[in-house]
Amino acid sequence: MSLLTLAWKSIRNRLFSVVLTVVSIALSVLLLVSVERVRHEARESFANTVAGTDLIVGARGGQVQLLLYSIFRMGNATNNISWESYQELRQHRDVAWTVPLSLGDSHRGFRVLGTNGDYFQHYRFGRKQALSFRAGAAFDGVYDAVLGADVARELGYGIGESIVLSHGTGEVSLQEHGDQPFRVVGILAKTGTPVDRTVHIRLQGMEAIHAGWVGGRPTALSRLRRAPDPEALQPKSVTAVLVGLKSPMAVFQLQRYINEYRAEPLLAAMPGVALQELWDTLALVQQALLAISVMVVLVGITGMATAMLAGLNERRREMAVLRSVGARPWHIFVLVQGEALIIMLVSVVLGVSGMYLLHLLLAPWLEQQWGLYLSLRGLSPTECWLLGGALVSGLSVGLVPAYRAYRFSLADGMTVRL
């Protein structure tokens, strides 16, 4: 029988208290790997949201805010870009393509995005993947809508469905554009980005439902009649513009040009830089979270050492018997250390399994509530390091009771005086 088997049998004999220790450490390990995983996945998810766009242009403000409302569909823009500025940008000699974005409406909690056909052609996510259609095709008519994958799935919409948009972006909307319903003509394939939670319509459609509105409210006139020819409607502004350049060399030059644009105050942000800034604002919080979970693991491990130390007195007799059958003091040391090893291994395995279980249970919710797309994958190198660190700390802390047991057994020999 190996010493580890002996340690295991001894543990079984004291199962209740050891289980308590294991549970506390397993929970702390669960917390640690979960925090790390969410951290990592959030970052991946962030970085994958937009690709292939050289500049995001919006009204002057913070670049993080611009990134949030234009790409993440979070929050609202304080100002728009005039149609004239947009046109000028479009025709700039360095610009290869533009995608206008017009935001502000919603459909049952999902943001509505007014844009044009260039969106489906130029928008890239992840590793420069293009959008593709799961069903139907891009919009053509003014009252056509293209749904993100989640919108279609969650609301159970198919091609041909008639939907009514609401003014504003709240869950409960006061103003409905009930008089001008849209028809679903396309459903996009899943991307794992906020695109999945977006309803896409044409800029003209956006304009049509707000025709005659003043200050965000319908007027008597607008209620009376629909626009005679929606195709002829000229949007007065857009919320943001995605810009692709002919040559990436020109990016700084164009950025300066836009930021110093005379006609109106604009901001051009490089997505990578803005993402980094957004990430950095969250870095402190994440690091604090990670530090706290590391601390919790240490507390768990300390608890283990305490329990083991407390148990040693009762186990002195057991160790004296082992000594009498030929166990050397270092055997006793290994026995106690082996217990720490078993506890730590079991806890880590349980903690990691718990993390995967939680993942399976919570992934849909995280995706819906927070737009956080977790991919089911093996342990990352960082996670392995953290787990290894926990194991090593557990074993190091286990040295304390092990050494004490060693001292006991040296002093006690085969006869214990209690």
């Binding site: 049998k9 030929g326 020999g413 006869t415």
Partner: protein, 237 residues
């Protein structure tokens, strides 16, 4: 082991504390294969004597030879190894590891001593077979092999401890009042079984008790106070 003496103490003085001698023995010899009864009142130093023989403590003066080996120059680790290889122990109580089965308890010394495993192999047995045979000879049926020791009676537990002390044929078995927790009948039965086993394998037995009634089962009796000058001094003082 060329020496025919199993135990030889010469001019041994020992005290747990400085200036308080517990044992002062001019000479004590136990021949190989001899079965000796050591008696003396409580506190007379019987357990201390066994600790010296087992190399758990070293005397302040004099030499302790076991199986021809002077324990004095050995390091702690060497004494540990020597003890594991050559001496089987039985104590008054709490002999067994409570979370192991009967068989696992008996096999423990084989785990820690290559020498004992080797002797079993040399006899053409497996450790398991040796354990089963010993238990059977000590009147413990095979049905008890895989029972947790906590389910045994005290008498059965002591016999398991005896089987464990004997496994792998150590040259010396040291027993410290192994029968004091048993009633008279069981005591007798245990003693005769232990004696038989030691005789069969020609094992030297050092048996300590303050119970005179057991004395006549042994070849020789050592009355500890008679050879221990420390106790006489104490009495005089």
């Amino acid at each position: 082991m060329t020496n025919r003496n199993a135990i030889h103490l010469q001019g041994v003085e020992f005290g747990w504390q400085q200036g308080v001698p517990v044992l002062d023995v001019t000479e004590l010899t136990v021949a190989a294969g001899e079965r000796v009864f050591v008696k003396g009142p409580s506190g007379s130093g019987k357990t201390t004597l066994l600790s010296l023989v087992g190399g758990i403590v070293t005397p302040q003066r004099g030499t302790v030879q076991v199986l021809g080996q002077d324990l004095g120059p050995l390091s702690g680790a060497q004494r540990d190894r020597f003890r594991a290889h050559h001496i089987g122990f039985i104590f008054q109580m709490f002999n067994l590891i409570p979370y192991l089965t009967v068989l696992e308890n008996v096999l423990l010394p084989c785990r820690f001593s290559r020498r004992r495993r080797g002797r079993i192999a040399a006899a053409g047995e497996t450790p398991r077979a040796a354990a089963t045979r010993l238990l059977q000879q000590l009147d413990l049926s095979a049905s008890l092999l895989h029972v947790p020791v906590t389910r045994l009676s005290v008498g059965q537990q002591q016999r398991v401890a005896a089987a464990r002390a004997l496994i792998g044929a150590p040259e010396l078995v040291v027993a410290d009042e192994p029968t004091s927790a048993l009633d008279t009948d069981r005591r007798r039965a245990f003693l005769s079984l232990l004696q038989q086993e030691c005789q069969r394998s020609n094992t030297t037995l050092l048996f300590v008790s303050h119970d005179d009634a057991l004395e006549n089962a042994f070849q020789r009796t050592v009355h500890l106070p008679a050879i221990n000058r420390a106790s006489r001094q104490e009495v005089v003082a």
